[in-house]
């Protein structure tokens, strides 16, 4: 099967009925073989293809959720995490630089630092990132660890419009509210629980472990979290802190392959993502981090950016060689629900590739099969 035949197949395979009214937005793809290339120029071209960064960020506070999953100490073959499972700091710096040039008033990088409530700067330094360079990339750069209260005085409550799948609302760090533009900067990866982790799944990390972590306080948040969210959110073995809205149906499935995609879709509805950037220059396949045994390093050599997370992830999933509309039981969603379809049903965006305007490099030319 040729690349074109493959793309035609996955585009025309309505395994589930698409939500006809789900919005569509353009997605840009660029080739970028290495982080030594001019990443800034590639990004600039992509933003232009999407209509220009200026109109999105000028005079605005921009919050960028990075993907830095797992402890910075855990590495794939001892390699810097930016070339394996984290977004690469060069891409982050280039984004800040371009946003600064486009007139962003404040650029706030956020991530829920794994098992820590410490300043995000510490986490970045532990990942081998040069914080001073990032601060110098643009005016108004700042950092926030969203795993706890951070620099805020209270949590912000995000209600899922029209009701959520698992929770009616989620309590998040103030940074997700005190912003005009919300950006999800993800890595092009498989995910053990969700099949793929892209701009949607990246936002599972919006959840503060202080409330949704395994050592979250029972009544109130634990502002010094030291665990992940596996027992609470993946498996539903305990409930989040009572200060946050409780689960809609505690008797629903406790299976991670059901829970995590539904929570991610809820979050995409509750805290909309305005801009997505996906780092597929170098990455890993087979899982999301070094704790997954079957991972391997890959070099897809692509960057993606878009203005709707479902559309962007649909294109990214196709670039990885999968159908973005594949049902549970089909790769890459072998043991889980398809997060993209759940978000589509929430009305966030369409997974229908025929409705998505792909700009720059066509999917067929960017195709890099994660399961060769």
């Amino acid at each position: 099967m040729t690349r074109r035949e493959w793309i035609a197949l996955i585009s025309a395979a309505p395994l589930l009925k698409a939500a006809p009214n789900a919005p569509a937005a353009p997605v840009a793809i660029a080739r970028c073989a290495s982080y030594d290339e001019d990443v800034t120029a590639r990004l600039a071209t992509m933003f232009d293809q999407l209509g220009g960064l200026d109109r999105i960020v000028r005079g605005k506070t921009v919050t960028i959720k990075l993907n830095m999953t797992g402890s910075p100490g855990l590495r794939v073959d001892g390699r810097p995490p930016g070339i394996t499972h984290y977004v690469h700091p060069k891409l982050v710096g280039a984004t800040a630089h371009l946003m600064g040039q486009a007139g962003a008033r404040r650029i706030r990088f956020v991530e829920s630092a794994w098992a820590s409530g410490a300043p995000l700067e510490d986490y970045l330094l532990d990942s081998g990132w040069n914080v001073r360079q990032l601060l110098a990339a643009a005016p108004g750069v700042e950092f926030e660890n969203t795993n706890a209260l951070g620099k805020g005085s209270k949590y912000a409550r995000f209600t899922v419009p029209d009701g959520g799948y698992l929770f009616p609302a989620y309590d998040l760090n103030h940074a997700f509210e005190d912003t005009d533009v919300f950006v999800s900067m993800a890595k092009l990866k498989n995910h053990e629980t969700c099949g793929v982790t892209l701009s949607l799944k990246n936002c599972f990390g919006n959840l503060p472990a202080s409330i949704y972590g395994d050592d979250a306080g029972v009544d109130e948040p634990n502002e010094n979290p030291t665990s992940g969210r596996v027992k609470t959110m993946h498996m539903g073995k305990r409930q989040p802190s009572k200060s946050a809205p409780s689960e809609l149906d505690p008797s629903s499935s406790r299976e991670p392959g059901y829970r995590v995609p539904h929570i991610v879709a809820d979050l995409a509805k509750a805290r909309p993502i305005d801009l997505e950037i996906i780092d597929g220059i170098e990455s890993i396949a087979g899982g999301e981090g070094p704790w997954i045994k079957k991972i391997r390093r890959v070099q897809p050599g692509v960057l993606l950016a878009g203005l709707n997370p479902v559309c962007t992830d649909a294109v990214a999933t196709a670039v990885m060689g999968y159908s973005p509309r594949a049902e549970r039981g089909t790769a890459p969603f072998r043991t889980c629900d398809n997060t993209l379809l759940l978000a589509e049903r929430h009305g966030v965006g369409t997974t229908d590739l025929s409705r998505i305007d792909v700009r720059g490099v066509p999917i067929a030319q960017a195709l890099y099969r994660y399961e060769a």
Binding site: P72, L74, G78, P80, D122, W129, N130
Partner: protein, 465 residues
């Protein structure tokens, strides 16, 4: 032949043994070769002391001509005084008693060799080391092979700290060195039936040197054979090893520096002489720590410290408990292990690491230690160093600080950040590869002084003034 031997012995007899290099400065290596030509491998290296399990007068003479001390290694068995005397007669300059000999053996051997002024070095089990004694060199044949623990599936084993766990002897060495100024030798061997890469040898050397001890260089059989026949890869690895040795030996002043840590761990030797204990756990978090033997706890030993962990409160005298009370009254924090925490399982005589039950037990106190330390800067904070260990030292007046970094991975580490308490104006990076580079010193938000290091291969040091 007899005549030649006699001439060599006569020559040695008039040589002022060890006149130029005291035992504390010996840089030891086990030498499995008997061919004197192999001594060429030592040209240009700092190795100046060979441990020989079999020896010849010719080897002893040739080594002596090069200023290299030779020591005969004797193991438990028959009375070692007899072979010790024979070794000295053959021109060997000292004896290593390796293993656990019956009590009094070392003294008897020293008496037997009194006329020759030969030095006797004991490489005992850790538990039998003569801590705080008069010997210029104390050592052990036991040690963990330094490196990142790897699971069967090839993944790194995570530590309680969430980082890959690094096997190290550095906590043990800190504990031993807290007893006195004796040079400390670690005489453990490379792991058997294992391919030992050059990087692992560098880690073995650096692991000991970073903490102020010396690993007795010991090559596995495969490496020895390849080196002897001049295999380029083996020669390259050997050069790398001697380069690292030279790096540390070029800075003898580092051995005289004090721990810059504001955190003290008060421990008795039973625990302190194990690897993988509380000292190593704290070191894995790159929190500078000073080891204080319970028996040597004084108010002076806590000078400058802000926190202390009392691992065995029942082992302290009433006076020592009072010292800790006074320490807390002065504003410091003391974390005391819970009652009955210690002594729940007996250590085996040959045990040098904690077993699972002890590790589980230690996790209780470790959690409290982590909470107490938090993200405070207790001397230094280091970033992007999960596959590294460090030691932070200072001159007595605190005007100069040296941060030693050892990389236990097979890859160079890039973008390391070091934040040190105190205001320093100058920083200089030193590496075994010969890099000597001034680093920009800047002030992080939390105060103190910070530097960024581009790359650390096997090890590196940063000197701040």
């Amino acid at each position: 032949m007899m005549l030649r031997t006699a001439r060599w012995v006569a020559a040695l007899a008039i040589t002022p043994l060890f006149a130029s290099v005291p035992p504390s400065s010996w840089v030891p290596a086990r030498w499995n070769w008997s061919d004197p030509k192999t001594l060429d491998l030592l040209s240009g290296t700092p190795i100046n002391c060979l441990l020989l399990e079999s020896y010849s007068s010719e080897m002893a003479h040739r080594a002596s001509e090069r200023g290299i001390v030779t020591l005969a290694v004797l193991k438990p068995g028959a009375d070692p005084a007899v072979p010790a005397r024979a070794a000295i007669r053959a021109g060997i300059q000292g004896i290593v008693l390796e293993g656990d000999f019956p009590n009094g053996t070392a003294a008897r051997v020293r008496d037997a060799l009194a006329d020759s002024h030969a030095v006797v070095v004991e490489l005992t089990s850790r538990a039998h080391m003569p801590l705080g004694g008069p010997d210029p060199v104390i050592g052990t044949y036991q040690g963990v092979w330094p490196g990142i623990q790897v699971l069967d599936n090839g993944a790194a084993k995570a530590a309680p700290s969430g980082s890959p766990w690094i096997d190290t002897n550095s906590g043990f060495i800190r504990s031993v060195r807290a007893w006195g100024p004796a040079a400390v030798w670690l005489g453990y061997l490379p792991p058997p039936h294992t391919v030992v890469t050059g990087e692992r040898y560098l880690a073995a050397i650096s692991d000991a040197e970073m903490a102020g001890a010396r690993w007795v260089v010991a090559l596995d059989n495969d490496f020895s054979a390849r080196l002897e026949r001049g295999d380029p890869a083996a020669v390259k690895d050997w050069r790398g090893m001697t380069q690292v040795l030279q790096f540390f030996e070029s800075h003898p002043e580092w051995r005289t520096l004090h721990s810059y840590g504001k955190l003290a761990v008060v421990q008795d030797p039973d625990d302190a002489l194990l690897s993988g204990g509380i000292l190593d756990m704290i070191a894995a978090k790159h929190t500078p720590v000073r080891a204080i033997p319970g028996q040597r706890l004084t108010s002076e030993s806590l000078q400058g410290a802000k926190m202390a962990v009392d691992v065995d409160p029942n082992g302290l005298t009433p006076e020592q408990r009072q010292i800790l009370k006074d320490f807390t009254r002065a504003g410091a924090t003391v974390l005391t292990a819970p009652p009955g925490w210690k002594g729940q399982s007996a250590l085996q005589p040959d045990q040098i690491t904690l077993d699972k039950a002890e590790l589980d037990r230690l996790n209780d106190i470790w959690h409290d230690v982590q909470t107490m330390i938090g993200h405070k800067n207790l001397g230094a904070r280091l970033f992007n160093v999960s596959s590294m260990l460090s030691n932070v030292l200072s001159t007595e007046d605190g005007k100069q600080v040296v941060v030693e970094l050892v990389n236990y991975s097979a890859y160079p580490i890039e973008n390391v950040t070091v934040q040190v308490l105190g205001a320093f104006k100058h920083a200089r990076l030193l590496t075994p590869e010969g890099i000597q580079k001034d680093l920009e010193v800047y002030t992080p938000d939390e105060g103190g002084s910070a530097v960024d290091i581009d790359r650390v291969t096997a090890c590196a040091s940063v000197r701040l003034d």
